[in-house]
Amino acid sequence: MGRHYLPNLAHRDEMLKEIGFTSLEDLFSDVPKGMVQKFNLPKGKSEYEVFRELNEVLGQNRTALEMPSFLGAGTYFHYVPAHVKYLIERSEFLTAYTPYQPEVSQGMLQALFEYQSMIAELVGLPIVNSSMYDWGTAMAEAALMSARVTRRKKFVIPKALSPEKKAVLRTYTAGPGMEITEVPWDERGQVDMEKLKEAADGAAGVYVEVPNFFGLIEENLREIGEIAHEAGALFVVGADPTILGVVEAPGELGADIVVGEAAYFGNPMNFGGPRAGIFAVRNDKKLIRQMPGRIIGMSRDADGRRAFVMTLQTREQHIRRAKATSNICSNEALVAVAAAIHLATLGPRGLSELGEVILKNTAYLKKRLSEVAEVPFDGVNFKDVLVRFERPYSEVHEMLLARNIHGGHYIGEHFPELGEGALFAATETTRKEWVDALIEALKEVA
């Protein structure tokens, strides 16, 4: 099967003859004898059969449309307006590659420039690349970049950070042998400022997030930045961009680098991927030179008209090879374009409103959860809420699942000091009746 994708299959012999070959084997005459194999693979199928088969397989998944879910912890169910999906499925966007020929790629280039521009407004820094793989790899690359810029090897992170991101950071920093230092949280769940001060000493970079892993809005960003800068470290902020309509742009609070997850706009959960990492820096030549990733710039064409093009490529692997600022080549362009389209749709009012609705929904979830379990930290939550249960969370989870509710994400194995802790999350898509049903169920089981 698959011959419907191969126009020249019908002309194989004629074409071979035309160029002086007698058989297909001639084309593979440079392959050592015996290396060509028969493969033990299934036969091809018709499109209809594969459609039915994969529909059935994927239909086994129980989706967030079928089952109330309170999962968050880095992946959130946001609504993606239909026009965003339609637009990025237009094949001129979908099937193009990296815009190596700007003259026939102005559409993608301009869309990515717009992505960079809108993210710049959100984070308060003017230089944004056109995407990393995800928030975690963007943070890891920020750590590597901090080391290159400062020629130091220590990177400071909060202890209250996603285990996913910590794992990525460790793998990325293993090669250059960087040291990762964790700063614990204080009794309010915020970064412990005293401990941070100690840790910042000699650091290449200091990293904090807003909100933090427990969903709390980190309040002392500006002070943390000052501490980092005093220590000669870069101040790296990880921001959930959906909060930036209500929380100050990290760039305005002193951040040198901002990373985050662009896929929260315009992209569905997709079982965790694809995503798109935000990567933004201050307008500082030293920083720009060390920045990873592809950047789109505005320029002129031969007639003097505005045109867009990939720029500052001398940082990149295809030019600098082993000395590049990163190995990244394929990035997450289409994810970034989807985010841009969604952001253009939201505009300033939409972004504020989105932030407000999530704040309110999270507050309601938190209030109701506190009726049935321990909610250890006060402060304002955004999306995630940390809850502690008396009985093993696995039991709570099973009982919720039996009631067709997907509860929160257990984090006890990564944070044993929290006991049976789990993160429950709300977004703008969460419905009040789900929360009420959750609380009813928890009253019975927790």
Partner: protein, 496 residues
């Protein structure tokens, strides 16, 4: 034609969104010190305006459905629409990665099945699907090599060998993983210089990164010898899967002696490139390396017919990306594999190789284009326009730009670095003979133009949405966002 920036289309008061009401309408006070006070200068548009804007931008972009797109080393094959339809199933979009395994059996099965296909196709024993792209896969692979040597008590193995024709990601990935990069030259035949390799290997050799066929489109026919040399020196052999389309369904990297392989689902397995991403770069390893793979792997418990995430990987290098990889891309690749099947995959490589050689033979001998190295190619061919440049001043770049005027996409140019004025052409198996003929015709016509009217070619393109873009200016005077643009305009530093 040109389309304003979306910021320029903004009008105060317009909205393009709808928002569900909050569950309870109580004001939540964010601490003042962290509350947003700076203005949020996002564009304000209605939905119809947003749709028109991005529809127009899409029409200013060339994709695989627009015509031939023979970017060398990029495998710009047709992306079947059924892939998109399957990837649009709600069971893809609306599942959370932390859902209870019992509620995502379909997703885990997709990943597990995909792994089985990839294992058989490559001759590897275990795969991680986590890497987001080829380079992310390379980093994964070399990190595994690094972990393996450390684990074996050989921390001194800090040199990674790469061919001088290698993709830039190879040395970059090796460097990121902490290796020193040693370049191995190519012979005049266009294959690896075995003597140079012999001289380069030693106690510090961690491994050799290689593509086969290489970026010249030439099959490294001494691959078994190469493998022997590297292995004997204690190094491992890494396969860059960018060129797998040339041997798909016919030859397994595992049978060539490779220990680690990365694949590009967005190249070989027909998932769309998305204007630069998302891709997916699974990494496969031979059995002795499987304990170093990133976590989690996907396991299958046949007894209970249950798929599961397996975090029990004793010496895992950790994670190279959050979560499990670009799942929506995997779904597309599996769709393609199931449709193609055993024979279909073999025919893919056969026709891809046929198309590349057809083009090679048809273009060969045209004035101004030189065909260095061996004639027999696999999926791609690299011509040099060095003679044309010497004789007319027309460079590979000019030829590329002139192709755009004919409504065709240019090949990759100036790569691999070992060929001067390189035109690296990879037609793929999904273009028709007429498209190949038309491409050859266009290149021949450009040759004629170069020798009769070189300024026409040097001034190309003439009929595209914009004319040749000044990338020197772009780098000299970086304008990287609307915010920067406004600032520079205000200062009078730019006028475009």
């Amino acid at each position: 034609w040109s389309e304003p920036l979306i910021f320029e289309l903004s009008r105060p008061g317009r909205v393009g969104y709808t928002m569900p009401a909050p569950m309870e309408d109580v004001a939540i006070e964010i601490p003042d010190k962290i509350k947003r006070k700076s203005p949020l200068n996002l564009p304000e548009l209605s939905e119809p305006e947003v749709v028109k804007h991005y529809t127009r931008l899409s029409e200013m972009n060339y994709g695989v459905d627009s015509g031939i797109y023979p970017l060398g080393s990029c495998t710009m094959k047709y992306n079947p629409k059924i892939n998109e339809e399957i990837a649009g199933h709600p069971g893809v979009a609306y599942i959370h990665p932390y859902q209870d395994e019992r509620t995502v059996q379909g997703a885990l099965r997709v990943m597990w099945e995909l792994e089985q296909w990839l294992k058989e196709i490559t001759g590897m024993d275990r795969f991680t699907l986590q890497p987001a792209a080829g380079a992310n896969g390379e980093f994964t692979g070399v990190s595994i090599i690094r972990a393996y040597h450390l684990d074996n008590g050989e921390p001194q193995r800090d040199e990674m060998l790469v061919a001088d024709s290698a993709h830039g990601t190879n040395p970059a990935s090796a460097a990121m993983a902490g290796f020193k990069v040693i370049e191995i030259p190519s012979t005049e035949e266009g294959t690896m210089d075995l003597e140079a390799l012999e001289n380069a290997v030693g106690e510090r050799t961690a491994g050799l990164m290689l593509t086969n066929p290489n970026t010249l489109g030439i099959f490294e026919d001494e691959i078994l010898e190469i493998a022997k040399i590297v292995h004997k020196a204690g190094g491992l052999l890494y396969y860059d899967g960018a060129n797998l389309n040339a041997v798909l369904g016919k030859i397994r990297p595992g049978d060539m002696g490779f220990d680690v392989v990365h694949l590009n689902l967005h190249k070989t397995f027909s998932t769309p490139h998305g204007g630069g991403g998302p891709g997916s770069g699974p990494v496969g390893v031979k059995d002795f390396l499987k304990d170093y793979l990133p976590v989690p792997l996907v396991g299958y418990d046949g007894e209970n017919d249950r798929y599961y995430l397996d975090y029990d990987v004793p010496k895992s290098i950790g994670k190279v990306k959050e979560l499990y990889g670009n799942f929506a891309v995997m779904v597309r690749a599996l769709t393609y594999l199931k449709i193609m099947g055993r024979e279909g995959l073999r025919e893919v490589s056969e026709i891809a190789v046929l198309n590349a050689n057809y083009l090679t033979q048809k273009l060969k001998g045209t004035r101004g284009y030189e065909l260095p190295h061996k004639e027999l190619r696999k999926h791609e061919v690299v011509f040099s326009t060095e003679p044309m440049k010497k004789e007319t001043g027309v460079k590979a770049l000019d030829v590329a730009k002139r192709l755009l005027d004919f409504g065709m996409h240019a090949p990759t140019i100036y790569f691999p670095l070992i060929v001067h004025e390189a035109l690296m052409i990879e037609p793929t198996e999904t273009v028709s003979r007429e498209e190949l003929d038309a491409y050859v015709e266009a290149l021949k016509r450009i040759s004629e133009e170069a020798y009769s009217n070189p300024e026409l070619v040097k001034g190309a393109p003439h009929s595209t949405a914009v004319r040749r873009v000044d990338d020197v200016l772009a780098a000299k005077k970086p304008v990287l966002s609307w915010r920067m643009y406004l600032g520079l305009r205000e200062k009078g530093e730019i006028d475009y």
